[in-house]
């Protein structure tokens, strides 16, 4: 029970840190801090609340494989969108076309 309370306090401290740091202009470090702190919070929840810290290897393997599969999706999908020139039809707008801003 003591561990749960400590982890909870750590999570709230990390939340305060990420919220406060996002208000200070740090350039690219803002995004890096936000992602790093989110990953730290996720690790605390997975290791202590979801008990991966004391689990058998199989459960950890399932968690890691799911993250790897997600990483593949991001990597391959992202590489496609970033590096390829997208040919548009003559009637297709280059920007998202919606009715926004016409009020």
């Amino acid at each position: 029970m003591k561990t749960i309370v400590l982890v909870w306090a750590g999570l709230l401290a990390l939340l305060a840190a990420t919220a406060a740091s996002s208000l200070i202009p740090l350039g690219i470090a803002n995004a890096a801090l936000n992602i790093g702190i989110a990953a730290a919070k996720a690790a605390l929840v997975a290791l202590f609340f979801m008990r991966l810290r004391r689990s058998i290897a199989l459960l950890r393997l399932i968690a890691v494989v799911s993250l790897l599969a997600l990483g593949l999706l991001f990597l391959l999908g992202g590489a496609d969108l970033v590096t390829r020139h997208i040919e548009r039809s003559a009637w297709q707008d280059a920007r998202p076309s919606v009715s926004a801003g016409q009020h």
Binding site: L12, T18, V45, F49, L59, I62, A63, S66, L70, L73
Partner: protein
């Protein structure tokens, strides 16, 4: 029967039955598939942030930081309550476990209330995609609108998971009231895994939707 209930070293490292181990593995595999369900939403966000950085950051600044932070704190606390309830259920302290589960449901309901209040604000501020949509400081309104498509899709999908999670927790609470021993403790633990996963998704949604471009 004896093999089924024999104490083995299982997933949590504590003594448990083979049924416990099977239930944990089943839930983890399900959660792995859920990651692939939420993942593409984050991918859409990343693509938008890369392609229309200014509009996405302006749109992110127009979300309600106070509500988002409060909601994150509520969900993190509910996860701690869930972990405490699972521990108590395992130790056979059913009354305390039920109290913990009650706290989880109340915190989940508070989360949904805050989110509902936020949606109401969004509606009044013209942040819902459609005619009349407008985000201040966004050069490209159409791209800002894409941010809000992602925002509403992600938060509504997440809210749906919170509601399902609350239903599961209430079910476990009823189960403990009837005194179901090992089965009850196992179900609390398994439903807890689902609840923590929903918390994990929010942990990443929070910086993406509420913190991006705050300082710029």
């Amino acid at each position: 029967m004896s093999a089924r209930h024999a104490a083995v070293r299982t997933a949590s490292g504590c003594a448990g039955t083979a049924d416990d181990a099977r239930a944990r593995i089943g839930m983890w595999v399900f959660l792995a598939s859920e990651i692939m369900f939420f993942g593409p939403v984050f991918f859409a966000y990343l693509y938008g942030r890369h392609a229309w950085t200014q509009a996405f950051e302006a749109a992110s600044r127009s979300t309600d930081l106070a509500c988002g932070t409060l909601n994150t704190a509520l969900l993190l606390t509910s996860s701690a309550a869930m972990a405490a309830a699972a521990l108590r259920a395992e130790q056979g302290a059913r009354r305390q476990a039920r109290r913990g589960l009650g706290a989880v449901v109340l915190l989940g309901a508070a989360f949904l209330l805050v989110k509902g209040y936020e949606y109401r604000q969004d509606w009044h501020e013209g942040l819902v995609p459609g005619p009349g949509f407008h985000v201040a400081q966004a050069a490209d309104q159409a791209a800002a609108q894409l941010f809000y498509f992602v925002y509403f899709f992600a938060t509504l999908l997440h809210a749906l998971h919170v509601i399902i999670g609350m239903g599961l927790v209430l079910y476990c609470r009823g189960l403990l009231a009837r005194g179901s021993g090992q089965t009850g403790a196992r179900r609390v633990e398994i439903c807890g895994l689902y609840w923590h996963f929903v918390d994990l998704v929010w942990i990443f949604l929070y910086p993406a939707l509420y913190l991006a471009g705050r300082a710029s």
